[in-house]
Subunit: 508 residues, 2 copies
């Protein structure tokens, strides 16, 4: 049964709605995303009361969200409110009012739960074993220390980009003294948490500030891939952005490429919190997660529905399977080809000078090599390549994702076309193209070994002998069409393996 | 209810299988395509008997097809056999044997029906009012004169690429005398059909010979689009290919870029038949149709299922709707946006110096502007653009299809990214980019007018006054979010309309 789940997240700065569609076979996909800058915490610092104007903005946004949920015929709405409502003395009244006026019941979640949901969202979409997660919102900042993919420590600090902006008056241009004052405050707050000190592991950032840092850096570097999730930058790049932001006026920041103009007034507070975190943790890299509380809420629901733990064992396998099903791929054929290709990899890896990490690229490409058929059967390897490049695959770096796309695109033979693709050439160097070629060859052979899709070749063994590369086919009955198809790969094998191919048949 | 239909077409030269998937809402898509070179008519010239070896090849191919049908869980197999079986004295025995051995019952169709099915396949996928259709197979050539989208005359000539190759011995290199002899034969055959003479309308070619002519021409011209259907070339380009083929040996032809090596031995006969047709008709252009008997069989079945006539009224609307549904687009939103955009077009067409033919591009882009969401919500305009570029849309030239892709890709604002796309730059010149910009602006305005997807703006009227472009919005209730969204387009409108935008609201 298909299902549509809406997730609503009312923060101190923005309100977000996402709609996830769950297909019959369990695959899911984001079908709608809306963000409104509500500034619910505006003017709250002094009295700890949500202000009437802010409440008015929140209600009209929630009304639109309710309408969108109706339009998308969602089956279930999961709504949460965070710091602003949590801290407001009139929070309960607001929640009751919102339910009366919009029909949406928001769950006011604790800082601890907020941290956990961000953890679920990020850990299921970023390949991370150890690190510090931060979710920098308008009115709070959740910090989660991750060790071995588990929460080791976590805290919700009661300040965020909006609250610090108001407290220190950082909307427009600020002088050095003000920045020093701000940094001293942040340092003092963080210094009280000994587990933050010198973790030497990546800092993973969730939230608008983190996403905007990525976008600014991408514009500065002319980054060719329109993707923020899993984008990485080093402390030097970050410091350049920090300086750019600390020294400019509001009007200048509004025009800063990559920075959302709605965020220009609160970005000084935001980046300085990140600066404090980078300093105390000595993190070697800042990783941006586009997924946080909203994805955490959805995945918590989804995993529970399928009786699975909230943190997946293997996010790459999960997301690849999800993409395969979402594009109506045939899992039987896909997994058989992947198994054959992986066996070839194991047998010839040394001879081909491949790294063990290359195997996962081959597997992704093998599982998804045919998904382009949903676009157009003709030229479908190229369409598979486009889909893989742009799919919501998790657990690969951007470069790895593009490599997997090239490999799948070549499953019927290499083509110079991909060399001309601007994005690919920015990511891949000569060595990468060679690796892609070799892995694509293994995929092409695997594809030939099941060209009739009859599964006649049960399994293979790939060996290297002095004068030949040997392929032992384990068959239940003769497979003449598969053998004939293999001949197409002869030249390719000769070139990349440097050996002639010998076939042996073993009937089982 | 979803349905899978397999179409099998056993010709004199090749056997083809396609599997069409019909989705719940009636959209359909090709999910499998297999072609085997069977040469069923081989050696048949003398005795008019299908030869044992040819029968053996046909049976093993049909067995594979039967297996594929099972694998794809097809609900219905529509199988036909053409010239070779039709003309063979042992045709009935072969059909009975094939059914016994493979379970597939082939319908031996008449030349007249073959011509009609090709007509249905081509007319529903190529925008053509008048012209001569030819379906050049291995053992027969169907000619259909089309006037006003109807069959005016049709005939099935009892020779094709395989039969003439055998009759004149054209497999390898041939001398000028042999070519002259061949051409004299073809001319004599065609001369007996007075309705072929000087039709001055396009010649539309179906079948492997026609497709290979397109592919060779595309390679010669370094054509950047991997698409054969609706490819067009003039008589001069054709003559260049003819000469290339007439003067080369079999070994040389096997290496000719674009020519399938399996067809290298019968291509001389094939291109000379086309030459004869071009000469007698004086057709100004040769158009290649990738769709023929197989698509005709499917569409005949599909249209009957929905109580529709076999020839569609508007192939562009039909195929656009099909692509919209296949990518799970929301028809309500899509058609509302398209209607708004078309009204804007009507009001401002003169001022924007647009041609009336540009309107259909705007409509396609408007209907399909959101389909990229199935790939990834983020950056979906770019994905919509890719899908439109590669979709099975019929009734647009290749250039028009790429223009529609650019327009849809810009529905949230223009981006220089598309300028850098190699394919686009090969097709579009400065003038095209300007037209795309203007049409994208109309689409962007339409999108703003229903940004909440609530249909608050029922309809619009677009006027040009001396000092302003006026947009009258006909509303049932205030639409503040739509009005706010429109402000984003202010600069764009100012630039491309050269006038400021004035909004008037009329409550209805």
């Amino acid at each position: 049964m298909t299902e549509r789940i809406a997730i609503i997240d009312l923060g101190s700065n923005s309100a977000r709605l996402i709609v996830m569609h769950v297909y019959e076979k369990g695959a899911y996909n984001l079908v709608y995303n809306q963000k409104e800058s509500v500034r619910l915490s505006e003017g709250m610092n002094a009295t700890l009361h949500l202000q009437p104007e802010a409440i008015g903005r929140a209600l009209s946004t929630l009304k639109i969200f309710a309408h969108m949920c109706q339009l998308f015929q969602v089956d279930k709405i999961i709504g949460v409110a965070t710091a602003a409502v949590r801290n407001a003395k009139n929070g309960d009244q607001f929640i009751a009012l919102a339910e009366r006026e919009t029909g949406i019941l928001l769950d006011v979640i604790s800082g601890e739960l907020e941290a956990e949901l961000g953890f679920i969202g990020a850990m299921n979409t970023i390949d991370l074993t150890d690190g510090l997660l931060f979710d920098l919102g308008g009115g709070s900042t959740e910090l989660t220390l991750v060790k071995n993919r588990q929460i080791k420590q976590s805290i919700s600090l009661p300040f965020g980009a909006v609250t610090l902006t108001e407290r220190f008056g950082l909307q427009d241009k600020v002088n050095d003294a003000k920045i020093a004052e701000l940094q001293a405050f942040i340092q003092a707050q963080l210094a009280s948490l000994p587990w933050l000190k010198r973790i030497f592991a990546p800092l993973v950032g969730i939230g608008g500030t983190a996403r905007n840092i990525a976008k600014i850096d991408q514009r500065l570097k002319n980054y060719p891939f329109a993707k923020v999730h899993n984008y990485r930058l080093g402390p030097l790049s970050f410091d350049q952005i920090l300086e750019l932001i600390d020294k400019t006026s509001l009007a200048q920041r509004r025009k800063l490429p990559g920075l959302s103009s709605e965020r220009a007034d609160i970005i000084i507070a935001g980046v300085n919190i990140v600066k404090g975190l980078l300093d105390i943790t000595q993190a070697p890299q800042l990783v941006i997660s586009g997924c946080g509380v909203r994805e955490g809420l959805f995945l918590q629901y989804y995993q529970a529905k399928y009786q699975q733990p909230p943190i997946m064992k293997n996010i790459l396998e999960h997301s690849t399977h999800n993409v395969l099903l979402a594009h109506e791929g045939d899992p039987n054929h896909a997994y058989h080809i992947a198994a054959l290709a992986e066996t070839l990899f194991d047998g010839w890896q040394d001879h081909l000078a491949l790294r063990s990490g290359d195997k996962k690229l081959l597997k992704v490409a093998a599982l998804l090599h045919d998904i382009g058929i949903t676009i157009n059967y003709y030229d479908h390897p190229r369409h598979s390549s486009y889909l893989i490049e742009n799919a919501r695959l998790f657990g690969l770096t951007h470069r790895e994702q593009i490599l997997a796309a090239v490999i799948a695109g070549w499953h019927n033979g290499t083509s110079a076309k991909y060399y001309r693709n601007r994005i690919y050439s920015e990511f891949l160097d000569e060595g990468d193209w060679h690796i892609a070629r070799k892995l694509a060859m293994l995929l092409a052979i695997a594809e030939c070994l099941d060209v009739t899709q009859m599964g006649l070749v049960k399994t293979v063994q790939a060996l290297i002998k002095t004068k030949a590369a040997v392929l032992k086919l384990y068959l239940s009955e003769p497979a003449p069409i598969e053998r004939q198809a293999l001949q197409k790969c002869d030249k390719w094998i000769k070139k990349d393996l440097g050996l002639a191919l010998e076939i042996e048949e073993c009937f089982i």
